[in-house]
Every structure is written in structure tokens, then in C-alpha cells.
Point group: C2
Chain length 245, copies 2
DNA sequence: AAAAATAAACGTAAAAATGACGTTATATAT
DNA sequence: ATATATAACGTCATTTTTACGTTTATTTTT
């Protein structure tokens, strides 16, 4: 009955990026493909999150950081551990497939799920060994394991979190327009926002700093560029205790 | 290097309750005591969270539910999985002590931490085998393992969450006064709230329902009793997309 | 070079929510 | 009856939000 031995321990990373051109919140996924050698029938043909076993002397956070670095080459990105997934039958459908190495029945794989926010421009997707690819959160392909659920729960957490903290700027280029910010909120939250009110609200923030630059290469009036100052934000930040139930 | 074998898997439960008399947010903790048989020197003398190994065919959620039931007899309480703790040296200081059965060095214990919100009145602390005791969150005793950190992180999550969701009512009796609600917010958030403004705000909520009852046994003007209607809340609830950064 | 088109950027006013504070009402205790 | 303590209500100024209309700057078209 009691089970004080043995499980697999892994981390999985939901990597979010924002495409300012298509105005789409994207998730970085890895292609899985495996065919039967004789019949050539595809056994696995889907996408999954990046993840890996946690090394023996590694903290959970470090493990997630390592996995992201291996995939993207990036470190220091916004990272949040948002949930552990560990139902006993979590990977049972997949148990003789790849990624799950030498697993026997009844071996539980607990995964600690993180999400990362990064600037799409920082990642070179074409140049990696993982066949990684960005997928719009609203048009996810066939997803393996229970990773669809993990992605959607990460997304829910992100939706809540972006309302109360300026994490959105982790997803934007260093220099952005007010409309970029609005597009991003609209994509994440799947809502429409009044541009005039939104603009005023954002511009009034002390930590949104107008630059001496405008957009280049646009075929209409170029917009003012801004940057986000984390320093200023942290200095003037004071926790709001506004009860909103 | 790689570690695809094995670790201990447990759940730990931070149980929150509110004492309307002392106006204190409390945590339910279990006494640990162990003395050296010869010298009688105390080896362990502190408090810890309830927790246990996850059973072989048990989901993480079910495991937490079981642990709470064993401690309090209660089921169906508000429950949230808020973080996994799994640093490789997490329990190393404690490795030859009780609770950690037959552990060897280098065995990692990952714990999935939950917090529960319950009505203090529902729990009979005196009548349990665990020597469980309520402790004000602001006057915690000596705490074993890394459970102090776990408690404080649960508390942080609760503080954030109670601002945007009416989970506070999980901590109050079924019938409560407006001042009870205020006391609870003040305790949790460690702030002072203007009674008149707070009262207006709360009373205006459709899901706060005045009863045909007043306080009894108080030595001053008895206050109106209210109840919280989860049904009405869920019916009229619509996600607010107010961006507050 | 002027006009048209388009998106950026600014403005205004009503409504709602919040914050700060004064006053009244109702029960119990003396 | 009167005092007392707490519950409960009220008012007003300020801030924030919502809902729109207007102007400005730049590019493209004529």
C-alpha cells in the first residue's frame, strides 16, 4: 500500500513567446516522430514540451533552467514553477514509447512544471537539434503525454498573473510600442481593449519610458517606442491590498 | 549524472484556520518530540506540517485529501496545490530522525505542498492522535525540516489569492458578521481597513446574504449575521480583466 | 506638390469606485 | 432611565474607469 520508494522525477517547461507580427501568443514545442521499422506506420507523431529528468544533485529550479538552456541557449528568463503533475497513471498510455526510457508499468513519473516567458527574437528555432517550433496557443497541434493539460494550466496561470504584475514585458522586445503591449494583452486574455484608455493607462506608468526613437520600416505613421524599466518598477512598487472579490 | 531513478514522494499540508476570538490566522501543526534514551537529551522538539508519502495508486490531490482527513476528519475543504519542494539536500539535516524512515543519504524527498482552508470550529484539536495544535501565523514555534519555508510560501499565496477570490469565507463560520470578515482580512494581510468603507463594499455584494439572525451572547449591540452564497457568486461571477500593473 | 489615407496620439465628460471622515442607531450594562 | 459601546449609515471629495470624439503625423496616391 505505502509507496515510499520510487518514482521518476522530471521537469517540463512551457515556453511562451509572443509574435508581434501575427499578434499571437505562442508555445515552443518539440516534434516527436517514430515509425515502426517494418510497416513504416507512424507510432508517434505529435508535439511535446521540453523536459528532462532531474539530475541527482540538482534543484528543481536549476533543472528547469538547464532544460531551457539546452533548448534555446537562454538563461535568466522569467521562470515560474506553477504545478506538479504526478497522477499514478500519468504516462501509462505512452509507456513503451520514446522519452520514457526503460519504464515499467506502475512507475510513476512526477513532473514539476514550469513556464518561461521569453522574447521570440532571442530564440533561433531553426538552428536547434530538437525540431522545436512555435505554436499559437489557440491552435495547438496534436500533443503527446498529458502535455496539453500542462500547457493549458500554465496558460491559465499566466492569464491571472499578467493582470497584477508587469510580466508581459518579458514577452516583448526591449523596444516596443504601446500598441504592441495592447496586442499582447489582447492575445493573452482574448479580449478587446479600448486603445485610447489603454494608451493613457500605460503611458502614465513611471516605469514605461519613452525613447528617442520611432518605429522604422513601417508603411504608415511610425509609432513612438518605449522601454520597460524593471528598476523603476521595483523602486516605486508597493503592494496593493485592493480587495476585489 | 542523470538520475532517472528515484526519490521519495510526499505531500505536505499547510492547514489554515481563523480564530474569530483572538482574530488570528492560525496554522495547524503537529508536535514532534524524541529524546535520547540514555541521556534523556531531546533530539527533536519542534512542530511540523502534516504530510505523508504518496501511496502507490494515489493521485497527488487524493493524497493530500487523505492526509487532511486523517488529521482532522474533514473532507471537501478548500485545497490548493501551491508548490513542489525538492531540493536534493532538502531533508539532509534531519536524515536520521523520525518521519524520515530508513532514508539514506542522497535520497531526495520531493514534497508536493498543499494548503487547506477550513473553519476552526469544524476541527476538534484536542481529540486527535497527532498532538496537533493551532499556531498563529505570526508567532510560529520552532519548526522542523524546511516546513517553515513551506508555511510562509503558502501564506504568500493565500495573501495574493484572497484579494481576487472570495476564498476568505472558507475560513469563516457559516454565519458571520461583516466585522468578522474585516478582522480576517486584517489578520491575513496585516493591514488596517476603514470599517465604514469596507462594510459598504462587502454588503453591496449580491452573494453576501443577510440572515434573519443576529449575534447572541455578546455584551453589546449584537451584529447582523450574514452568509456567503457560493451559488450566487458562481452565477454572477465574470472574470475581471482589469489590468493592474 | 497637393490630396487622400491611415494609424498614432490626444481630449473630454459621465459614471463608478475609493478614501476619508462625521453621525446616528440599537443593544447591553449600570 | 442613563450611560456606554459597538453596529450601522451617510456625505463628499478624489481617483479611476468607461465610453466616446477629435486632432496630428506620416506615408501613399494622385
Amino acid at each position: 500500500m505505502k509507496n515510499n520508494l520510487i518514482q521518476n522525477l522530471s521537469v517540463d517547461c512551457v515556453v511562451f513567446g509572443f509574435d508581434t507580427n501575427t499578434k499571437s501568443l505562442n508555445v515552443l514545442l518539440i516534434k516527436r516522430f517514430l515509425a515502426d521499422e517494418k510497416t513504416n506506420t507512424p507510432l508517434v507523431d505529435d508535439y511535446v514540451l521540453t523536459g528532462y529528468h532531474v539530475y541527482e544533485n540538482e534543484s528543481l529550479d536549476d533543472s528547469a533552467t538547464r532544460v531551457l538552456k539546452e533548448l534555446t541557449g537562454l538563461t535568466g528568463q522569467y521562470k515560474k514553477q506553477f504545478k506538479a503533475f504526478g497522477d499514478p497513471d500519468r504516462l501509462n498510455n505512452e509507456k513503451d514509447l520514446i522519452w520514457v526510457e526503460n519504464q515499467k508499468f506502475n512507475v510513476r513519473t512526477v513532473t514539476i512544471a514550469y513556464y518561461f516567458l521569453l522574447k521570440t527574437e532571442d530564440v533561433d528555432v531553426t538552428n536547434n537539434t530538437y525540431q522545436a517550433k512555435w505554436h499559437p496557443i489557440n491552435q495547438l497541434p496534436k500533443i503527446g503525454f498529458d502535455h496539453k493539460q500542462i500547457i493549458l494550466e500554465a496558460y491559465e496561470d499566466l492569464k491571472t498573473k499578467c493582470l497584477s504584475e508587469p510580466i508581459i514585458f518579458e514577452l516583448l522586445p526591449d523596444k516596443f510600442t504601446i500598441n504592441d503591449v495592447q496586442d499582447l494583452y489582447e492575445s493573452i486574455l482574448n479580449i478587446e481593449i479600448d486603445n485610447r484608455n489603454f494608451r493613457r493607462k500605460v503611458i502614465n506608468k513611471k516605469y514605461i519610458i519613452p525613447l528617442d526613437e520611432k518605429q522604422v520600416g513601417v508603411s504608415k505613421r511610425p509609432a513612438q517606442l518605449y522601454m520597460f524599466s524593471k528598476d523603476i518598477y521595483q523602486k516605486i512598487y508597493q503592494k496593493s491590498y485592493l480587495i476585489n472579490i
